[in-house]
C-alpha cells in the first residue's frame, strides 16, 4: 500500500517536472499507469524506470493485417544483419558466397512449403509486387486464347477458403493460367502447387510471422509460364526481378516458411480451438450476431462478425484495449463498407457493423476471453443507446419503416 502511494506521488512528480526521460517519444498508446514491483522504492531509479513501465498496450487481434516476428525467425535473421552482411550476388569472396548460400537455403525452405522446385521461386518485395508481376504476365502474352484466372486462396476479410484445387483443375483443362494470392494461406493450410495445378502464386513474408518488405512469387517451370519483369536492371533472380536480394529478409522469409511447415498442424488446432471459443461465447451471449462467410470452407483464424444495430467504427473505438479492424487494412482509407461483404450479399447496415477478429499462433486464451468480455459489454452498451434497437425490442420491423425524405 505504502509503496503504491509513493509510486503515484513519484509518477505525478515526474510528469510535473521535465526530467531527462520526459522527452522520450510516447511508445504506443498510453492507456493507464500500471502499479509495479518494489523497484519503485529506489528513488534515483524511479524517474527513468517510470516512463517505460507506465504504458499498457492493447492486445493484438489483427493478424490478417500483419503478424509479429516469430523469435525463431528473428534468430535466423540476426547473423545476416550483424555479421554476414555480404551481397549475395558478389561472386568473388566469402561474404558473397555465404550470403548466396543463405539465400538459396531460404529459397529451398519456401519451395518445400508449397511443394515447388526452388528454381520456381523468385524473391520480391511482397505479395503486392508478386501480384503485379503475375497480372502483367497477361499483358505480355495477349492472344485470343490466353487469359489468367486470379483468385485469393484465403480471403483476408472473412476468412473463406476458395476451392483452389477445383479451380486449378478447370484452368489446366482449358489451358488458362491460374494465379492465386496465397498471402493469408501459405503456412496455414496445406498447399501444393502441383496437386492444385497452380501456375503462379504470391507469397507474403509478414503474414506468416516473417519480416515485412519481403515476399516471393512462385512461377511454374513445367509447363513454362513466361512473365515479364516489372523491375529491370542487373538481371538478378533469373532476370525476372532485378535488384539485390535482401539476404536478411529472405533468410527471415525462409525461416518463417520452415517454422510454418513444422507448426502448421499444431497452430491449426490451437487457432481452431480459440476461434470456436470466441464465436461460441459471443453468439451465446448476444442476439443478432451474424458470422460473415461460409462456415464450412473457412479458415478459423479470421472471424468476421456483424453485430446488428451497432456501428462498426464505434464498436472498434469502444474496444480500445484490443487492436481490431473492420475490413481489410489495404482498403481502410475509404469509408465505404467492405467490397467483400457487399459481394457476398450482406445488407448495407450489417456490412457497416462488421468487425474482424484475427487469431494467430501467439494468441492466448486469456486474450480471447478478455476480448469477448469487452465486446459483449460494449455491444450491449451501444445497443442500449441505439434507437433502432429500441424499435426492434418493441417489435417494429425496421424494413417496414418509411423514412421521410428531406
Amino acid at each position: 500500500m505504502l509503496l503504491r502511494t509513493a509510486w503515484r506521488r513519484a509518477a505525478a512528480a515526474v510528469r510535473a517536472a521535465p526530467g531527462p526521460r520526459s522527452e522520450a517519444p510516447a511508445r504506443g498508446l498510453r492507456l493507464r499507469v500500471v502499479d509495479n514491483a518494489p523497484q519503485s522504492a529506489v528513488p534515483s531509479d524511479t524517474a527513468t524506470a517510470l516512463e517505460v513501465e507506465s504504458v499498457l498496450r492493447p492486445l493484438y487481434m489483427d493478424v490478417q493485417a500483419t503478424t509479429p516476428l516469430d523469435p525463431r525467425v528473428l534468430d535466423a535473421m540476426l547473423p545476416y544483419l550483424v555479421n554476414y552482411y555480404g551481397n549475395p550476388h558478389s561472386r568473388t569472396h566469402a561474404y558473397g558466397w555465404e550470403s548466396e548460400a543463405a539465400m538459396e537455403r531460404a529459397r529451398q525452405q519456401v519451395a518445400s512449403l508449397i511443394g515447388a522446385d526452388p528454381r520456381e521461386i523468385i524473391f520480391t518485395s511482397g505479395a503486392t509486387e508478386s501480384n503485379n508481376i503475375a497480372v502483367k504476365e497477361l499483358e505480355a502474352a495477349i492472344q485470343p486464347d490466353t487469359s489468367l484466372v486470379s483468385v485469393m486462396t484465403v480471403n483476408n476479410e472473412i476468412g473463406v477458403k476458395q476451392p483452389i484445387a477445383e479451380i486449378g483443375q478447370i484452368c489446366s483443362s482449358r489451358r488458362v493460367y491460374f494465379h492465386t494470392d496465397a498471402a493469408q494461406a501459405v503456412g496455414k493450410i496445406p498447399l501444393d502447387v502441383n496437386d492444385m495445378k497452380i501456375d503462379l502464386m504470391s507469397i507474403s513474408g509478414h503474414k506468416i510471422y516473417g519480416p515485412k518488405g519481403v515476399g516471393a512469387i512462385y512461377i511454374r517451370r513445367r509447363p513454362r509460364v513466361r512473365v515479364e519483369a516489372l523491375q529491370s536492371g542487373g538481371g538478378q533472380e533469373r532476370g525476372m526481378r532485378s535488384g539485390t536480394v535482401p539476404t536478411p529478409l529472405v533468410v527471415g522469409l525462409g525461416a518463417a516458411c520452415e517454422v510454418a511447415q513444422q507448426e502448421m498442424e499444431y497452430d491449426h488446432k490451437w487457432i481452431s480451438k480459440l476461434a470456436e471459443r470466441l464465436t461460441k461465447k459471443i453468439m451465446n451471449s448476444l442476439p443478432d450476431v451474424v458470422m460473415n462467410g461460409d462456415p464450412e470452407h473457412h479458415y478459423p483464424g479470421c472471424i468476421n462478425l456483424s453485430f446488428a444495430y451497432v456501428e462498426g467504427e464505434s464498436l472498434l473505438m469502444a474496444l480500445k484495449d484490443v487492436a481490431l479492424s473492420s475490413g481489410s487494412a489495404c482498403t481502410s482509407a475509404s469509408l465505404e463498407p467492405s467490397y467483400v461483404l457487399r459481394a457476398i450479399g450482406t445488407d448495407e447496415d450489417l456490412a457497416h457493423s462488421s468487425i474482424r477478429f484475427g487469431i494467430g499462433r501467439f494468441t492466448t486464451e486469456e486474450e480471447v476471453d478478455y476480448t469477448v468480455e469487452k465486446c459483449i459489454h460494449h455491444v450491449k452498451r451501444l445497443r442500449e443507446m441505439s434507437p433502432l434497437w429500441e424499435m426492434v425490442q418493441d417489435g417494429i420491423d425496421l424494413k417496414s419503416i418509411k423514412w421521410t425524405q428531406h
Binding site: D45, E53, V55, L78, N83, F362
Partner: protein, 127 residues
C-alpha cells in the same frame, strides 16, 4: 555418445521452461511455455533412441534460440498487456534496461558472433 536419459530430457524440459519465462514480451512468453509443454507431452512415448536423440538435439538448439532471443529482446521496453502481471520482475532485468553503465548489457553482435577477422590474429606492433 550415449542416448539421452530420462533425467537429461527432464532437465532440458525444465531449463527450457525456465528460460522461456524470461521473455519480456507476453505473447512470446506464453507461446514458448505452451509449445514446450505440448511438444514434450506429445513425444513422451517415443521409444526409438535415434528418434529421441534427434528430438533432444532439436530441443537443445531451440533452447539456445530462446536464450539468445531472451537476451537480445531485453533491450526493448516491456510491452505489458492489459492484464497487469507480465512486467519484468527482477531488479537485474530492470537495471539492464535503464542504467547504461550496467555490466550485464550485451550487444546483439556478441550473441551472433562469428570467426575473427584475419588481422585480429596477427601480432600488433607496440608503439
Amino acid at each position: 555418445m550415449a542416448a539421452s536419459s530420462r533425467a537429461q530430457v527432464l532437465d532440458l524440459y525444465r531449463a527450457m521452461l525456465r528460460e522461456s519465462k524470461h521473455f519480456s514480451a507476453y505473447n512470446y512468453r506464453t507461446y514458448a511455455v505452451r509449445r514446450i509443454r505440448d511438444a514434450f507431452r506429445e513425444n513422451k512415448n517415443v521409444k526409438d533412441p535415434v528418434e529421441i536423440q534427434t528430438l533432444v538435439n532439436k530441443a537443445k538448439r531451440d533452447l539456445e534460440i530462446i536464450r539468445r532471443q531472451v537476451m537480445s529482446l531485453k533491450s526493448t521496453p516491456a510491452v505489458g498487456m492489459v492484464s497487469r502481471t507480465h512486467i519484468p520482475r527482477t531488479g537485474a532485468a530492470l537495471r539492464n534496461l535503464y542504467l547504461p553503465g550496467s555490466s550485464s548489457q550485451v550487444h546483439i553482435g556478441q550473441l551472433y558472433s562469428t570467426d575473427k577477422l584475419i588481422i585480429e590474429n596477427q601480432e600488433k606492433p607496440r608503439t
